[in-house]
């Protein structure tokens, strides 16, 4: 029995959906892309070309919902189905699109570059708790025009895991699909065994931009999975109430699904998001707030009621350091995400409102995820009888350590954390250098970087990727890629 939390009653879910459908009709959705508007118009929606507002009837959306695959997989480099967007399966990946990284020595948030992205990939690659990689940070030394595809290129060459990514422009999404096709052998191969999912974002409130629509349509045609990342900001770009925000989220996702399925019925798409409450003192969007997690858990429940794969941004913190706030926000929210049965939970490693990535936080978050997974595994009957068998030769002594079954079962019952988690005696801790969590995380990161081996890959494919990215870089004024791919070690 996988433990679950549900915040909404069936009745409330129905009311959320009912009002979301009402919003799709009135005020409607602003769709800022002509092709998307005509797809919706042809399917029976009313389009006001002047205002770009489309009134989308419920029947149209219901038809689209029928063609959405209820589940699909992401595959690793070797073709293993590693991530199941299905049922209550839960997976985690590092948060993506950070622009800075936490320098572990100076504690500065510095602009991320290629070496920082590689460092994050090396660490995430070896953390079993992270089922997928993400294009975790942008590399600031690379021209803006190719930053999205360049970071995908780096992940593809350093990782074997599935990838959560996204494009920054309509132009580059095609190139990124092509890169994935090269590694998959063909666009058909990519469609059949997708390695990556693309985040595509509506703009709150109730707007699908030209770029967002193009992403939906292009990816639908390519058969590459889309993750809708709707990000209503409760109290600013969305209603202040959790249910109001969850309803807006539903309307934005439903509109996206309609456009996507009209472009290509049956293409895989995920009910996802990165909503947050709006902090009324600082005007910020706290990802670590408990209400943010409540919005996520709630909308996931709405998505599940429609039999859709789900995603959320949880396990991140707004703290600027890997400190106590980071630990408690990330841990609490990761557990909520896991117990909500969300298929892909993005956010590990992230500080500062999803701006800053930290490898040290990744290894700490991996411990939180492991604990959440242990909780999800639930309480199982491992022995029959439950207890009396342990007392068969009992002598009123705490001798359970001597029982063979203790040795057999302890690792089934107990998750054994890495040295990032301190369970030493006070004296033992002192002898080990009196290290705080962050210092222990730094040690673990250094160990992982030392033990990293690049996965074995077809070098011809890597060369093809490299020459493709180099050509694209040259067009925007960068003659040589700031990465050396000639090192020999392989995994």
């Amino acid at each position: 029995m996988q433990p679950k939390i549900t915040l909404l009653s069936d009745q409330i879910i129905n009311r959320v959906l009912d009002e979301a459908f009402q919003l799709l009709v009135k005020p409607g959705i602003k769709v800022r892309n002509e092709e998307a508007r005509s797809l919706l118009s042809e399917a029976g929606a009313h389009v006001n070309e002047g205002s770009e507002v489309v009134n989308i009837p419920e029947t149209l959306v219901r038809t689209s919902l029928e063609t959405v695959p209820p589940e699909f997989y992401l595959y690793d480099l070797h073709g293993n189905p590693v991530v199941a967007y299905s049922g209550d399966k839960v997976h985690f990946d590092p948060g993506s699109s950070g622009v800075t990284v936490l320098d572990p020595d100076t504690l500065e948030h510095k602009a991320a570059e290629t070496a920082d992205l590689i460092r994050l990939i090396m660490v995430a690659e070896q953390l079993d708790q992270l089922d997928a990689q993400s294009t975790a940070v942008v590399c600031n030394e690379v021209p803006k025009e190719i930053q999205d595809l360049y970071r995908l290129f780096i992940v593809l060459t350093y990782s074997r895991k599935p990838i959560v990514t996204g494009a920054f422009t309509s132009k580059t999404v095609g190139s990124m699909i092509e890169m994935l096709s090269i590694l998959s052998g063909s666009s058909k191969g990519l469609r059949e065994m997708p390695r990556a999912v693309f985040d595509v974002c509506p703009n709150p409130p109730l707007i699908w931009s030209d770029f967002g629509c193009k992403g939906l349509i292009t990816l639908a045609h390519a058969g590459v999975p889309v993750e809708i990342v709707s990000m209503p900001l409760a109290g600013a770009a969305a209603p202040v109430t959790i249910l109001g925000t969850v309803t807006q989220h539903a309307a934005e996702c439903l509109a996206g699904i309609a456009i996507h399925q009209l472009a290509q019925p049956g293409a895989p798409i995920v009910w996802g998001g990165a909503p947050a409450i709006f902090d009324m003192r600082k005007g910020s969007a706290p990802m670590g707030a408990i209400e943010t997690a409540m919005i996520d858990s709630s909308y996931a429940q709405v998505g599940k009621s429609l039999n859709l794969p789900t995603h959320a941004y949880l396990g991140a913190t707004d703290s600027k350091l890997v400190d106590a706030q980071a630990g408690l926000e990330s841990g609490i929210n990761a557990l909520i995400g896991a117990l909500s049965g969300i298929n892909m939970i993005s956010g590990s490693g992230m500080l500062d409102f999803l701006v800053c990535q930290s490898a040290e936080k990744l290894v700490l978050d991996a411990e939180g995820i492991a604990m959440a997974r242990r909780f999800m595994d639930g309480v199982k009957v491992l022995t029959e009888p439950l207890a009396t068998g342990f007392f068969e030769r009992f002598d009123f002594k705490g001798d359970f350590l001597k029982q063979k079954i203790t040795r057999e079962l302890f690792s089934k019952e107990q998750y054994l954390p890495t040295a990032v988690i301190d369970r030493n005696s006070a004296g033992g801790w002192k002898d080990a250098g009196s290290l705080d969590t962050f210092s222990r995380a730094k040690i673990r990161v250094n160990e992982l970087i030392k033990s990293y081996r690049r996965p074995e890959m077809d070098l011809n494919l890597i060369e093809a990727l490299e020459s493709m990215v180099t050509n694209l870089a040259r067009k925007v004024g960068m003659d040589k890629l700031p990465v050396d791919l000639t090192f020999p070690e392989t995994m």
Binding site: G398, Q403, K404, R407, S425
Partner: protein
């Protein structure tokens, strides 16, 4: 022969008491000197699991089961040792107890298991043991070390009490006093003038070896 020794070590490493007993019996039949069986065979298993534990690669259940297997093997070999007029060279004699008013057993027993496995002769009195009983036992077995465990801040004073009694009776120089337990700190160890203290069972063996100069 080397294979036999390896198998002995392996049986301890695996915490397989029955196999350890069987190998001990077969070594007697094969006229392997019991001291060789211990020092070239079984002890290597306990050392190896201890090292693994220290590196975080083995866990307490494995450690304890290895200790139990070791004890069982030595029990089989001891009569044969006696028959040969020889005895296992012990590192020292330890009287072990949890102090009066305190019924915490696990840590103390673990220390006993590890000391025993390392080659100490351990007299474990159990829990809730009054000071005079501990001292009497130490005198009667001619102990080298008195080991005391206390898990409560309210009972740790009993450790001091034993040391004071030893002082009063002029027995203090005869015994090294080793203390342990969750509330025990270096400050407490210094304050009550004990001879050694340890945070866990593995380092207790190290400290005990130092105390007897081995």
């Amino acid at each position: 022969m080397d294979n036999n020794y390896q198998e002995m070590a392996q049986s301890i490493l695996e915490g397989d008491t029955e196999k350890a007993i069987d190998l001990a019996r077969r070594s007697i039949e094969a006229k392997i000197h019991p001291l060789d069986a211990i020092s070239k065979g079984f002890v290597n298993g306990i050392n190896s699991i201890g090292e693994q534990f220290g590196r975080g690669e083995a866990f307490l259940p494995e450690l304890v089961m290895a200790g139990e297997a070791m004890k069982a093997a030595v029990n089989v070999l001891e009569p044969e040792l006696a028959r040969l007029g020889s005895q296992r060279e012990i590192l020292g004699r330890v009287v072990l107890a949890t102090v009066e008013g305190d019924i915490h057993e696990i840590g103390k027993s673990l220390v006993g298991t590890m000391l025993n496995a390392a080659g100490f002769e351990v007299h474990d009195l159990g829990v809730d043991i009054p000071s005079d009983v501990i001292i009497k036992k130490a005198i009667s077995v001619n102990a080298d070390i008195i080991g005391m465990s206390a898990l409560l801040t309210t009972t740790m004073v009993r450790q001091q009490e034993v040391i004071q009694e030893l002082d009063q009776e002029g027995l203090r120089p005869r015994f090294k006093v080793l203390i342990g337990g969750a509330p025990i700190t270096r400050e407490w160890f210094t304050k009550i003038n004990a001879d050694g203290y340890s945070e866990d069972a593995i380092s207790a063996v190290k400290v005990a070896r130092q105390l007897v100069g081995k």
